[in-house]
């Protein structure tokens, strides 16, 4: 990617120090960066403190694609260039193989950088991952520690026992008593 007069380049630094050079148009997909660039308060290298390099790579991939869509259409910023179905399929493909920890970071990153489309993709993916899961499965998936005391856990379980009748964990506990 050679620097030309038309294409102004922006440099982004991830939390672990890796520097990415992208076109300004790509960076501007992120609203946070757009604001910074438009107000001219961006330094030579913009530090993105809460995003690690592998995540930033993924974010930049997304931004590049968005730029490609809008530039390929005759009118600028035409989101209807792809049909609804194509966009859905593309989104699915983009999120394919993203594991739970990457997904969490991706959500935080897209929120920080204010990229609505990516945030929506991530939320969809996360909701689909949570759907139909029991609490322990969710804990395992996202590595969350169960910090309830046994009494608290029992209480909260009893409160909504009707909703978890088929919970194998619930069954196991109640039958062992």
């Amino acid at each position: 990617m050679s620097e030309s007069t038309e294409k102004k380049m922006v440099r982004l630094r991830s939390s672990d120090g890796e520097v990415f050079e992208v076109e300004e148009s790509v960076a501007k997909v992120a609203k946070t960066l757009q604001d910074m660039l438009e107000e001219d308060c961006a330094d030579a290298v913009i530090p993105i403190t809460c995003v690690r390099a592998p995540i930033l790579t993924k974010v930049i991939d997304y931004c590049k694609d968005q730029v490609m869509i809008s530039s390929s259409s005759s009118t600028t910023n035409n989101p209807n260039e792809r049909t609804e179905q194509e966009r859905k399929a593309w989104g699915q493909k983009f999120m394919e193989g993203v594991d739970s920890s990457t997904l969490c970071e991706l959500l935080v990153a897209s929120n920080f950088l204010n990229i609505e489309g990516l945030l929506n993709l991530g939320v969809d993916k996360m909701v689909s991952m949570i759907q139909g899961k029991y609490p322990q499965e969710i804990r395992d998936m996202f590595n969350v520690v169960n910090d309830f005391t046994p009494e608290e856990e029992e209480e909260i379980r009893n409160q909504n026992a009707w909703a978890f009748e088929r919970d194998p964990y619930y069954k196991k506990r109640s039958s062992s008593k």
């Binding site: 809460c50 739970s100 970071e105 949570i130 139909g132 609490p135 322990q136 590595n143 169960n146």
Partner: protein, 476 residues
């Protein structure tokens, strides 16, 4: 760095994981160790464990730990750790212990041996962890109460060494959960430095508003943080939709409790096919939620139209603006009088009816999930007077274009299910000329759908009640 094991030790110099776990398990039966383990698991306060071990060594004849002289006994700078010094200290304690044991030779010998194993076990972990400190952490995930003590001490051992300072500094917050399996210690410490330790929780917060009731109740039970969010956020409960599979299990009590979470801010309530809800339950919900404006109760077979009208009258007279949008589906026994009363209660005037007709989307049989959700339709009420039989019923359109367009509209393919039979799969009208099958539960299915379904290898699991029900019927 290794300890010289005493000759009587049953621990091999390089013990396997199983052996260590079993020794820890054995200890877990004793009260002291139990409390120790809890401390270790929740607070990661290593000093207490040191203290305990050392107490035993120092006092020799007593098993009671002393809590108040921690500072005296601890190495001067335990967390800014010069690990070498710590291990020397540990080794020193073990030597003490050995002497004590040799001296005493009493019944307590046995217990001390176990203690010794326990501490030696830690030493092993520490050494191992030191050796492999630069490798990625294998596991730092949440443990349930059921997990073995040995397991958790194993984790603790590994974690505490690669960056003990950080973990201990962090221990109070109980946020260790945030570590990722794949991260190396280096990355972890960085993400912590950036205040980004809590990523899964942050990410979970984003999706809260997009979760169904079942998922919301699951997430609520994940940990204290998520529970607090869900309890605090009234807006999550201002719009409640209960659908399959929860609807069949929902009782009056559960519904009252559930709607109570909104703290009186409940605005929309959809109960789709909830056979457990009675008139009393609904009345109670209405009494406690004066801000309710939209109510949808299709398929709630224990509700009666009389009870509903009475409840709504009471509700709309006591609270403003009252229910303005009602979906009752195919509620049994609706008469013209009920229909008129309901229209009056909802404030549906002729203008609204006109608007509803203009903006009406075709309603296809069988009704889908979305038709019952609170934004699923125009018009104050879903029933209309059937142009063919003249009864207030829910009317369906035909999915076939030609059918729908037949003038005049009143004679078109739009009527209640009593007047026009429809396929329970695709909603197409079935007349005597067309081919159809009658199912076990006296519904009709057109030949096209029948063949299509027969081709499907097995029943698909879908979230729609009706679809699952149809599968059951077809294959039953």
């Amino acid at each position: 760095m290794t300890l010289n094991l005493p000759p009587w030790s049953v621990l091999p110099s390089n013990p396997t994981e199983e052996e260590l776990i079993s020794s820890a398990r054995f200890n877990a039966g004793e009260k002291n160790v139990d409390s120790f383990a809890r401390t270790w698991r929740y607070n990661w306060e290593v000093e207490e464990s040191y203290d305990w071990g050392r107490d035993l060594c120092d006092r020799g004849d007593s098993r009671e730990p002393i809590a108040n002289d921690i500072l005296d006994l601890l190495p001067t700078d335990p967390f800014d750790m010069d690990l070498g010094a710590t291990f020397t200290a540990l080794a020193g304690w073990f030597e003490d212990l050995e002497t004590t044991l040799e001296d005493s030779g009493s019944d307590e010998d046995w217990a001390f041996k176990e203690d010794y194993q326990f501490l030696a076990g830690f030493n092993f972990f520490w050494n191992t962890a030191l050796m492999f400190g630069s490798e990625p952490i294998e596991r730092l995930d949440g443990r349930t109460e059921e997990k073995e003590l040995g397991d958790s001490s194993l984790d603790a051992g590994v974690v505490s060494v690669w960056d003990i300072e950080e973990i201990l500094g962090f221990g109070e917050d109980d946020k260790l959960a945030a570590c990722f399996q794949t991260e190396t210690p280096k990355e972890l410490s960085e993400s912590y430095d950036n205040g980004d330790w809590n990523t899964p929780h942050d990410a979970l917060e984003f999706v809260m508003n997009y979760l169904d009731l079942q998922e919301l109740l699951s997430v609520e039970r994940v940990c204290k943080t998520t529970r607090d969010w869900i309890h605090r956020d009234d807006s999550l409960w201002s719009n409640i939709l209960i659908d399959q599979p929860l609807s069949e299990r929902l009782t009056d009590d559960a519904l009252v409790r559930l709607t109570g979470r909104a703290n009186g801010n409940l605005k929309c309530l959809s109960l789709v096919h909830c056979p457990g809800i009675t008139d009393d339950g609904l009345r109670s919900v209405l009494q406690h939620n004066p801000k309710l404006t939209k109510l949808s109760v299709p398929g709630c077979t224990r509700l009666s139209i009389e009870g509903l009208v009475v409840s709504l009258k009471a509700f709309n007279s006591s609270s403003a603006p009252g229910i303005k949008w009602l979906r009752i589906g195919e509620l049994y026994g609706v008469t013209h009088q009920h229909f008129e009363e309901l229209k009056l209660l909802l404030g549906a005037d002729s203008y609204d009816e006109q608007q509803a007709k203009i903006h009406r989307k075709p309603r296809l049989y069988p009704l889908r999930h979305s038709s019952f959700s609170v934004d699923g339709g125009f018009g104050a009420i879903d029933i209309e007077v059937c142009p063919r039989c003249g009864n207030p019923k829910i009317l369906y359109d035909c999915p076939v274009d030609g059918c729908q367009g037949k003038p005049p509209a009143s004679q078109g393919c739009r009527a209640c299910t009593f007047c026009i039979k429809r396929c329970c799969m695709c909603g197409i009208c079935i007349n005597n000329d067309s081919e159809y099958e009658e199912t076990f539960s006296l519904e009709w299915i057109c030949s096209g759908c029948w063949k299509e379904k027969a081709l499907v290898a097995g029943p698909r699991h879908t979230i729609f009640h009706q679809e699952t029900r149809y599968h059951f019927r077809l294959y039953g």
